[in-house]
């Protein structure tokens, strides 16, 4: 371990006490003078064309300021995916459209003096629909005779395969080696197909935004977003308002997990605010968050593998069919990651083919969700590895140690598979997977429990493992920037585009800056994500904040340090190259010559050669170093009921040097618990008409305290030389393991493979019967 002042320390999250005392403000907590309230009319049909729409009664309702639908709103095609420009997601969405494509698609909007009036007016809108045949089954979405969702004008803004006339929202194909040769050389063949389900992010703060017109006629939008700069750009482009007239501010955010990487409310408040020149607010209900916001894309993954008798995998064919729902938000990039963040793990496989297809269906819209395709794909990947190792009579832990990617190695996948274009070749500079496997195995009691089928009544115990990697930002695409200025007391204002959505990135950035400048993080006044005040950042996604934005802060602080040394050297009358900094002072080693930051700032501002000590820096990366983990599940399978009871879950994670271990552990623990609930319970139940039937926490159960297994989190001793003070990402990766680790543990217990999530008692019971475990 290296010696740091701030890095690796459990610095208190800078907003945590103000949050715990209820002093911080989220979008819904600002007092706005007399705002209009927006309510939406949603389609009751999965697929229909609006034949006629009569809003006259709604408009005539007292207290209604504005009623909007496709007839009186800008019709710019865009994507609601909050991604870089041009977005890799298809432009297939309008603010309002004449056609509706899922139950819950937007038909009209009412802005009124109160929520109640808006709701009342919504009920008065009369719509006549021409109902079209819907397509719900992604397996048939590409059929010639399948109903088509999108017309001829939808297009992809980047050169990728996109064919709405076939319901094809995205396609990715990659191969190297020779698949058939690989199968010919193999002694064993494996072929499994698994399916994952729709899920909601369930940030406890619902989506919301409000717009106000400022003193000079500009529009300020406060929004619960992960992507304030993308939000500003997308609002400007869809509403045809100059970017200079829009300011987007991100207050505290009550969790995102990808759900708030979506720009789909800002256009509405922007439009109403700009037209009425009045403050406008929308806060979604929980039901709307479930049924009308974004989801995790369901995926069908078929994985065919050939292996030699000793377990060496000769060939992998991964075929992913992703359901993007009614619109193609993240349809290409989530799909790409199902291969790109998964296949490099076993980098010695010579023959690899990956085919991914995203298809439109008349179901809710997919989007970014922590894990971003890797979660779906690792379900198949880690089960197949467990099958191969068992067939070869090799402990799966030894299998991973032998065949998984290691420090100094690369994978052809990095080079050939990017997000909508070729990938970026990279060599792994830090991989602590072996340490993760060893420490995790010890923590779970692998050798005592694996294969032992310990039985207690109807409950049979098993342990399973999953290994995975993710990335740290999108190489050559993601950019973050920081600026900093010095104050007379030796403190600094740190302005970052990086978007703290509850992760603690504001704190991490202060730690990084403090480490460079040899002072406590408390010396930094952090302001993030205000498009008027802070420099640009792509936002909180793709596990990029620590690695990309953090390095921008480090560079910025290095520039500040240079300026401080220059002033300090002048004051001490020493050569600048001999000036050193420590504990908030500039000094000359082995002398008593020393001057404090405070004195330096006063000098710079008021005494001589007056100037503001200030700097800015940007960073983008040529690489995306993956974090790694080994996750272990211990479960009891109740064969009388089919219930899986998680007993213990161990995550051993290599995230490089943890900048703040407790915050890093918190990322892992939160992801694991979300992942376990997704593995066991969370799912959208649809009616035969495509309506989501369980839009509430009673019926869509997420984990609470009583559901927890024993949780163990281990952070490996690792250092990524390209990251800020050795750091890699940690935000997403840990959600990838629960499904396969639990599935492998169930097999270890009862010898039954599970192919469909969530692993509800009903599904497990059915499988136990199919496999003859019970009668």
């Amino acid at each position: 371990m290296r010696n740091f002042n701030n890095i690796g320390k459990n610095v208190r999250k800078i907003d945590s006490l103000s949050l715990a005392t209820g002093a911080e403000r989220f979008v819904d907590d600002f007092s706005i003078d007399n705002p209009l309230h927006i309510k939406l009319l949603y389609s009751p049909h999965a697929h229909a064309v609006i034949k006629s729409i009569d809003t006259s009664k709604a408009e005539a309702t007292e207290g209604v300021a504005l009623v909007l639908d496709y007839r009186n709103t800008p019709d710019a095609l865009h994507t609601t995916a909050g991604q870089g420009f041009p977005e890799p997601s298809p432009y297939d969405t309008r603010i309002f459209d004449k056609k509706v494509r899922f139950v819950g698609d937007r038909v009209a909007l009412v802005a009124a003096e109160t929520e109640e009036i808006a709701e009342e007016a919504i009920a008065k809108i009369e719509v006549e629909y021409e109902i079209l045949e819907p397509i719900f089954d992604p397996e048939h979405a590409l059929d010639d005779d399948a109903p088509k969702l999108h017309g001829g004008d939808a297009y992809a803004p980047i050169p990728v395969e996109y064919d709405p006339s076939r319901n094809l929202a995205a396609k990715v194909e990659m191969s190297f080696g020779n698949l058939e040769k690989g199968f010919t050389e193999s002694d064993m063949k494996f072929d499994i197909t698994v399916r994952t389900q729709y899920a909601s992010h369930c940030a406890i703060e619902p989506h919301g935004a409000f717009g106000v017109i400022d003193e000079r006629g500009r529009m300020v939008i406060y929004t619960a977003t992960q992507v304030p700069f993308h939000a500003r750009r997308i609002v400007a482009r869809t509403l045809d308002i100059p970017i200079r007239d829009i300011r987007v501010v991100k207050p505290r955010i009550g969790g995102g997990f990808g759900g708030k990487q979506e720009v789909f409310l800002e256009q509405l408040v922007g439009l109403v605010t700009w037209r009425t020149k009045r403050s406008t607010k929308i806060i979604l209900t929980r039901e709307e968050v479930f049924a009308n916001a974004r989801t995790r894309h369901p995926m069908r993954t078929r994985m065919r593998v050939g292996a030699k008798a000793d377990g060496e995998i000769t060939t992998i064919d991964l075929d992913c069919l992703m359901n993007t729902g009614a619109y193609g938000s993240h349809a290409l990039t989530v799909l790409s990651n199902a291969g790109g963040k998964v296949l490099p793990l076993l980098n010695k496989v010579e023959n690899v083919h990956f085919l991914g297809q995203s298809v439109y269906t008349n179901l809710p819209v997919g989007g970014a969700y922590r894990g971003y395709g890797a979660t779906q794909s690792y379900f198949a990947y880690n089960q197949v590895i467990d099958m191969v190792a068992r067939a070869a009579n090799v402990d799966v832990l030894d299998f991973f140690k032998k065949w998984a990617i290691k420090t100094g190695e690369t994978s052809e996948v990095f080079r050939v598979l990017g997000e909508g274009k070729e990938g970026v070749a990279q060599i792994i500079r830090s991989c602590g997977l072996e340490e993760c496997i060893d420490k995790g195995a010890k923590a779970i009691g692998w050798s005592d429990k694996r294969g032992k089928h310990i039985r207690n009544g109807d409950k049979i115990k098993g342990v399973g493992v999953a290994c995975a990697m993710q990335g740290s930002g999108i190489p050559k695409i993601d950019m973050g920037a920081a600026s900093m200025k010095m104050n007379e007391d030796g403190s600094f204002n740190l302005y970052i585009g990086a978007t703290d959505i509850g992760t603690g990135s504001d704190t991490i950035m202060a730690q990084i800056a403090g480490e460079v400048l040899g002072i406590s993080p408390e010396k930094f006044i952090v302001l993030s994500s205000d498009t008027d005040l802070t420099p640009f950042d792509v936002g909180a996604y793709a596990s990029s904040t620590t690695y990309i934005s953090g390095e921008a802060v480090r560079k910025c602080a290095i520039e500040i340090a240079k300026q401080i040394k220059a002033v300090g050297a002048e004051m001490l009358d020493i050569p600048i190259e001999e000036a050193e900094i420590e504990n908030g002072r500039v000094f000359l080693a082995n002398t008593d010559k020393s001057v404090s930051y405070e004195e330096i700032c006063y000098h710079a501002m008021y005494s001589h050669n007056q100037h503001q000590i200030a700097a800015y820096a940007s960073h983008f990366a040529d690489e995306s170093p993956p974090p790694f983990f080994a996750q272990f599940a211990e479960v009891d399978v109740d064969i009388a009921t089919g219930r899986i009871i998680p007993i213990k879950f161990v995550s051993a994670v290599d995230c490089g040097q943890p900048l703040n271990p407790r915050l890093a552990e918190g990322q892992v623990e939160g992801a694991v618990v979300n992942g376990i609930a997704y593995a066991l319970w969370e799912e959208y139940i649809f009616s035969s008409k495509g309506k989501m039937m369980n839009p509430r926490f009673w019926d869509y159960k997420i984990y609470n305290t009583r559901d927890l297994p024993e949780m163990v989190t281990i952070l490996a001793d690792s250092y990524e030389e390209t990251g800020p003070f050795g750091a890699k990402s940690v935000g997403e990766i840990a959600i990838n393991g629960p499904i396969p680790a639990i599935a492998n543990a169930v097999f270890d217990a009862v010898g039954v493979r599970l192919f469909e999530t969530p692993f509800t008692p009903e599904r497990v019971y059915k499988r136990l019967r199919e496999e003859g475990i019970i009668e």
């Binding site: 006490l17 949050l19 209820g22 009550g254 969790g255 509850g502 992760t503 915050l663 992801a671």
Partner: protein, 155 residues
Amino acid sequence: MRGIFFIDGIEHEVEFQGDVTLLELLREAGHTDVKAGCHTGECGACVVLLDGELVNSCQVLAGSCIGAKVLTVKAIGDLHNPHPIQKALVDVGAVQCGFCTPGIVLAAYVLLKDNPNPTDDEIKTALDGNLCRCTGYVKIIEGVQLAAKRMNDNA
């Protein structure tokens, strides 16, 4: 309707519609530390102490509790004088987005008042009405344990 409420020790006379919930009344009165996560009594972000009892304020009609003493998290401790529970949650890193935290603090406060030495299991039971999607609850439980220990050490 019209009624007096004692919110965090201060008397408020409020006029409100009959279908207004205590949550809506509190937020309207500026108590935005009481969060709204679902409005259906499922998430626990809006819990307050109503005459000493922990309730989801979104499930209580304001008209049913006229004259009541309502405590929000701000009465438990503030930035300059935080309660040991708030401090402990901060110290162990149990506050991520913090949207659920005021509710967690109040649920833990009620628990520790009656049970100064709770087991992990008792903490889990006390907090099972408060959903958190960020932390996985591990550090929240640890924080409540730490708060209990500190409060006992200082008792």
